[in-house]
């Protein structure tokens, strides 16, 4: 029963969610958003309403048709014979006393819409999915009037008044008994709904108002009543909008807030309008029964529906999960759970709602619907397999690692191809329906078989999947007696932040005692896929150098780079501990299997460890995965012009996951926060190499000022967070929230590292530890003017931090020496290993390369991981740089030989 309920309700909730979240995110105005939602529901249920009206009028007409003779029969016959004669008469007239049921059943269909809206709006209140200031709308009744000490809820009263007015119009000409029912009910429900939360009552009031408008419009042509048409109508409209303005005023809204996203909102409305346009067309198309559907039409409808369900709810999600089951199915989140939401939505949408709409509407419309669904099914498959565009790396949250960006040409090509395909398919379906049905059936079976094969693969790999560590201590060993080397890669950390961080948190200068900060530092790529191998493997693993080994797969070269230092150090008798290193086996989560068979090397996937996740995080993860994967499946099958709109920068136009924490920021923070606990101080006569990466700096977050601390409920209202920061005359722009949050997460990372360094000092392992802090790349965020070289090149993208503390070093100093993150292995091995040689290439490990000739830096934006599994080289525009990253003259465009 629960399953059936969800199959019916979830598709509607999903659509309401898209509309409400779009409106709310664009305007930040609850009233406006609720009105938008109400208007949308009214529009979408209009065909049903029209059909109900059609049935109602038909019923009235037929009732009128039979009324005279039915009365005469009742007078002339008695008892059983009367019933027989009446039944025969009704049969001849094609009338049954249940004829009115058709109209009522059409109205009955509206109930799920209202349940869905009720559940959706209640859920927003219960889970606090809107901002704190707006939450009150979802929890409390309006209490807009006060008489003495009594608060009066105005909205339910207004709603009742509208109901009564609407009832007067609706029941015009009906019997007194019918009228009475219409008037008693609103009064009963006034009592029932009087204390309902504001949002729900406003939504209903708006619905009632629109219903009133519908009734007035429906009655107008018949009545031609000038009083209603010219006076009452406008008065009601003006009164209504005045009422809305008053509500706005009452709740201290100056006006509907239109921020910069209004453009997106208007565009969204246009898209939504276009999406519902067919419904409008259906409502205005003459409601004649036309030809009835034949077997082919039914086949067309059901095969296409099954294709859609199978494709969106099963095939695509399974494909995504099977590409990396160990990432998708973490923490005991099962395949069934991840697929559940999509199954409810798509089974409900295509097998229930499409059919309900189709069968409520006349058969000619039903026929058109069946053909459109078939065309849609084929177009979706076509779009996914042939017209699709790689969005880049899909994370385990089923979002894209970097925001997708389509070129204008791609948009145009894709749109034209999509339209042509759709039109062509419609023509073919119309002409050769049986052949298309046969194709559809073949497609259905193929998708099913491939899906099942992928599913079984997923199960196998899921079973063989190694569980991540649940250890919470003794992971990182530091020797008191021997030398320790620590390499920390802060993903996407920007080097230029360091002086500002040290100024904003001056206590860090002391904590970072012995460190040399190299502001003149760069990576050779702007994304992890380009810039992480060089951090751990050195200059042999810059994108340019890896391209030269074009007979080998990129993934193998990445793995090799990650193994260079562990192999060297472990072979030299060091304990080696690695954690969360990037893209081992080109997977988002750390695949520790690349170190299988390495003696003395311990590898840990801390970031995915349940240790650092809370139960609530896992629940949220489950929710995000299941919602996102279902929407991803749909979006990827849409024409490009819709894709980014519905992707909504990874939010997938939903409120449901708005408060759900991916746990990523929290987890990466918790790893850094737990460094002291994770560290074990030993007296062993063995040195240690610790290498780990952390993505806290990749997850922009607002911290609590003034000390940039992690806080669940941040309140920086007394600070001007958008004020630019200055170190001497050097400016760091803070004019957008993204810049602010990006800086904050960097400060937080350094603060936590500072605490770890204090711990080291307290345990006498600081001086005998060499520490290198760097990143794989920076981020193009336009905070530093001096890093902007030209329209194409912003060095923020490459400006990795280079902070190096050697053994027994003191003080915090700055060096202008030209550095790259590929210097890391040289710095790590310097003075510890004699003539370190790359065990995989046999070449010496050093930093000579940067002084020999300019270094090649890739500007590639194509950071897609799956391609790396198949490709041997990166294709990209290249620049070269030498000596000074801030000198525009030193950057030169080049091409790879």
């Amino acid at each position: 029963m629960e399953v059936l309920f969800r199959i019916i309700i979830e598709p509607i909730k999903c659509i309401l969610d898209i509309v409400f979240s779009t409106a709310y995110c664009a305007t930040n105005n609850i009233i406006f958003s609720l009105i938008t939602l109400s208007v949308f529901v009214t529009i979408i249920t209009l065909p049903i309403y029209n059909r109900a009206e059609y049935y109602r009028n038909e019923e009235l007409r037929k009732r009128k048709d039979v009324e005279v003779w039915a009365d005469r029969i009742k007078k002339s016959f008695r008892g059983k014979e009367q019933r027989y004669i009446l039944a025969a008469f009704y049969k001849e007239k094609g009338y049954t006393p249940y004829h009115g049921l058709g109209a009522s059943l059409s109205l009955l269909i509206q109930i799920p819409f209202f349940i869905a809206a009720y559940k959706y709006l209640s859920e927003i209140g219960e889970k606090g999915l809107v901002s704190k200031e707006h939450l009150v709308f979802f929890l409390n009744a309006d209490k807009m009037l006060s008489i003495g000490s009594i608060d009066i809820n105005v909205l339910p009263i207004v709603m009742t008044l509208i109901s009564v007015i609407s009832g007067v119009i609706y029941t015009e000409g009906l019997r007194f008994r019918d009228k009475l029912q219409v008037f008693i009910l609103p009064v009963v429900f006034l009592l029932l709904l009087y204390n309902c939360p504001f949002a729900i009552v406003l939504y209903w009031t708006m619905n009632n108002f629109l219903s009133l408008a519908k009734n007035i419009i429906a009655k107008m042509p018949l009545k031609k009543n000038k009083i209603i048409g010219k006076i009452v109508g406008p008065v009601v409209l003006i009164g209504w909008f005045a009422f809305l303005v008053w509500i706005n005023y009452f709740y201290n809204y100056d006006s509907v807030k239109m921020d910069e996203s209004i453009g997106v909102f208007i565009f969204s409305l246009v898209i939504i309008a276009l999406s519902v346009a067919p419904i409008f067309i259906i409502t205005i198309v003459k409601m004649n029964s036309g030809k009835s559907l034949n077997k082919e039409d039914y086949e067309c409808l059901f095969i296409s529906e099954l294709i859609c369900v199978l494709f969106f709810a099963f095939y695509i999600p399974i494909t995504i999960i099977s590409s990396s089951p160990e990432e998708m199915l973490t923490f005991g989140i099962g395949m069934g759970e991840v697929l559940s939401y999509g199954s409810y939505v798509y089974v409900g949408s295509f097998l229930i709602w499409v059919n309900v709409f189709a069968f409520l509407l006349p058969s000619n419309i039903r026929c058109i619907i069946s053909e459109c669904i078939m065309a849609f099914a084929f177009c979706s498959v076509f779009q996914f397999f042939l017209l699709g565009y790689s969005f880049g790396i899909v994370t385990d949250m089923v979002t894209f690692e970097s925001a997708p960006n389509f070129s204008g040409v791609f948009y145009l090509t894709n749109t034209v191809l999509s339209v042509v395909t759709a039109v062509l398919l419609l023509v073919l379906i119309k002409k050769y329906k049986s052949i298309i049905n046969a194709f559809g059936f073949v497609m259905l079976v193929s998708l099913f078989i491939i899906g099942v094969v992928n599913y079984s693969k997923t199960n196998v790999s899921n079973q063989s999947m190694e569980t991540v560590t649940n250890k919470k201590e003794g992971i990182f060993q530091l020797s008191k007696n021997e030398k320790n080397v620590v390499i920390i890669m802060l993903d996407r950390a920007i080097g230029a932040y360091v002086p500002f961080i040290m100024q904003d948190k001056p206590e860090l200068v002391e904590k970072f005692d012995g460190f040399v900060y190299y502001p003149n530092s760069t990576s050779m790529g702007g994304y992890t896929v380009f810039g992480s191998a060089e951090v751990f493997g050195g200059y042999e693993y810059t994108p340019y150098e890896m391209n030269k080994r074009d007979k080998e797969l990129m993934v193998d070269k990445q793995n090799e780079a990650l193994k260079v230092l562990p192999k060297l150090f472990s072979d030299s008798g060091y304990n080696v501990t690695v954690a969360d290193l990037p893209y081992a086996n080109y997977k988002v989560n750390f695949d520790t299997s690349i170190y299988n068979g390495f003696e003395g090397v311990e590898a840990y996937d801390l970031a995915s460890s349940k240790t650092f996740y809370l139960e609530s995080d896992i629940d949220d993860l489950r929710l995000i995965k299941t919602v996102n994967i279902s929407k991803y499946a749909f979006i990827k099958s849409l024409p490009a012009v819709f894709q980014l709109l519905f992707y909504d920068d990874g939010m997938y136009r939903t409120m449901l996951t708005r408060n759900a924490s991916t746990g990523k920021t929290d987890t990466t923070y918790r790893v850094l926060e737990s460094l002291n606990d994770l560290t074990e101080i030993e007296d062993e006569k063995k040195g240690n190499l610790i290498m780990f990466a952390n993505r806290l700096t990749h997850n922009p977050i607002m911290t609590q000022l003034p000390d940039y601390s992690m806080c669940s409920e941040v309140d920086n209202s007394q600070y001007d967070i958008y004020e630019d920061h200055y170190v001497d005359d050097k400016r760091m722009k803070m004019d957008t929230l993204d810049k602010v949050k990006n800086y904050h997460c960097n400060v937080l990372a350094y603060s936590e590292l500072g605490k770890w360094f204090d711990y080291m000092r307290e345990n006498d392992v600081y001086d005998n530890t060499r520490i290198i802090i760097t990143s794989d790349h920076g981020r193009k965020i336009e905070q530093f003017d001096d890093l902007l070289i030209n329209d194409e090149l912003n060095v923020e993208l490459f400006n990795c931090p280079m902070l190096v503390k050697d053994f027994n070093a003191k003080g915090f100093s700055i060096s202008d020496e030209f550095m790259t993150n590929a210097d890391t292995p040289t710095l790590a091995t310097d003075g510890i290993l004699d003539s370190p040689t790359n065990p995989y290439t046999g070449k010496m490990l050093n930093s000579f390369r940067k002084n020999q000739k300019p270094l090649e830096v890739t500007l590639s934006e194509d950071r897609t991981l799956p391609k790396g599994n198949l490709q041997n080289t990166f294709e990209a525009p290249w620049y070269t740089i030498h000596d000074n990253i801030r000198n525009k003259e030193y950057w030169e465009k080049c091409i790879q030989n």
Partner: protein
């Protein structure tokens, strides 16, 4: 929970009440659904039991008769069918039906029981054609069987086809009519009710044919009553002659010193037995009064010199076959229960009544007596009655053959599997 209940009920203005109506309708619908489901289950179970029963094997023709009162309608047809190659059965709900008890070479005659047992068999009938003179198909308990391709109605009285209780012949596929005049009326009704036009074929009238045949064979000396004889042959119902003026009319006739045969409508014996019993008691000591309660009216008709009736079709039988005078009660008839009520025009029988008979008004019994005296001596309407007869009664003496021709034609063309 309260919230959800509220949501369920409170949809928008008007819709809430509509939903309440729906709920009530759904409950009653459910009741009838369960009831019909129960009926269907019983029917399926019975069907399983009856499977293999020869009565439900496929036939070409089944004649259904309600009983002995319609023997004259089917007798000749059955005789002809018995000699034909048509796979045919005769079903009756009357064990005393003469045809049931006659010997036949091929024709299988069955007594199908009465009431529900009969309806069950009728509703499960498996035949290409069903021929019947019973009205009310699909109106009362007799429903159309899905296994019958064509239901054919033949008339058992001379009317324009609209004197059956409402919708009596609407669900038949074919009407075999007495004369062309009937089609006009039937088509008018079809148009008014906006129903599918039925096949109509003029075939004549089997029972009139038989009456005529018997009349021709009659020896005039057979008449056994002394003096003039009047037959009182009314229709049945509250508005009928006996119900309204029973004792008065009997007294008036008896005052004239004529013999009186009272022949109530067969239906009166079923539904007005108390009234009939009272009248029998009233006349039991009068030797001139004879009550004819038999199925066959021929003897009574042949003995009578004048008929007093209301608008019963028997007046046509008497006027057309025996060419003797008819007196009919000239009063408004309540036709509200008949198909004729649908037409805003005088009922057909009124339009021709004065050309075959003489109107009388009850209440003025002296005048009635005078009219009887005059008419019994000199029937001035013999000729006009003949004209009317020739106009309404087609294929005199040929009806059974015409019916058989039609059935054979349909079996050879439309249902030649």
């Amino acid at each position: 929970m309260m919230g959800i209940i509220s949501v369920l009920a409170y949809i928008d203005p008007g819709t809430g009440s509509a939903l309440f109506a729906t709920a009530i309708s759904l409950v009653s619908l459910l009741y009838y659904f369960v009831k019909s489901l129960f009926g269907k289950i019983i029917s399926i179970l019975r069907n399983k039991q009856e499977k293999g029963n020869d009565i439900f094997s496929r036939k070409e023709l089944v004649i259904f008769s309600e009983g002995k009162q319609y023997v004259s309608v089917f007798r000749e047809i059955c005789r002809l069918l018995d000699e034909s190659d048509i796979n045919c059965e005769y079903w009756t709900t009357d064990q005393e039906d003469e045809i049931l008890n006659n010997e036949h070479k091929k024709l299988v005659c069955r007594y199908i029981g009465e009431g529900n047992s009969a309806y069950y068999k009728l509703n499960m009938m498996n035949s290409k054609i069903c021929l019947s003179t019973t009205p009310g198909l699909e109106v009362y308990q007799w429903k159309k069987s899905k296994a019958v391709d064509e239901y054919i109605h033949i008339f058992h009285s001379l009317t324009n086809g609209l004197t059956y209780r409402m919708f009596g012949i609407d669900f038949y596929d074919t009407l075999l009519t007495v004369g062309e005049f009937q089609e006009t009326y039937i088509r008018k009704i079809e148009k008014l009710r906006d129903i599918k036009a039925k096949n109509i074929m003029v075939v004549g009238c089997t029972y009139l044919d038989e009456l005529m045949q018997r009349k021709n064979a009659l020896n005039n000396n057979d008449k056994s009553l002394d003096g003039k004889t009047i037959i009182l042959a009314p229709t049945w119902g509250e508005e009928a002659l006996l119900s309204h003026y029973g004792k008065d009319i009997i007294k008036s006739v008896l005052n004239l010193d004529y013999n009186l045969i009272i022949r109530p409508h067969p239906q009166s014996l079923k539904v007005e037995s108390t009234m009939i019993d009272e009248l029998i008691q009233f006349t039991k000591n009068n030797a001139k009064v004879v009550w004819d309660l038999s199925d066959d009216n021929f003897d009574s008709l042949s003995k009578a010199d004048l008929m007093i009736s209301d608008f019963s079709s028997v007046m046509f039988d008497f006027a057309f076959i025996f060419e003797k005078p008819v007196l009919y009660v000239d009063k408004e008839i309540d036709i509200s229960i008949y198909d004729a009520a649908w037409l805003d025009e005088p009922i057909w029988i009124h339009t021709i009544a004065d050309r075959i008979g003489y109107p009388i008004t009850f209440g003025d019994f002296e005048r009635v007596q005078k009219t009887i005296e005059e008419v019994i001596k000199d029937n001035k309407l013999v000729e006009s009655g003949r004209v009317i007869r020739d106009g309404v009664w087609a294929y005199e003496g040929e009806s059974s053959n015409k019916i058989l021709d039609y059935i054979e034609c349909r079996l050879n063309t439309a249902y030649n599997e």
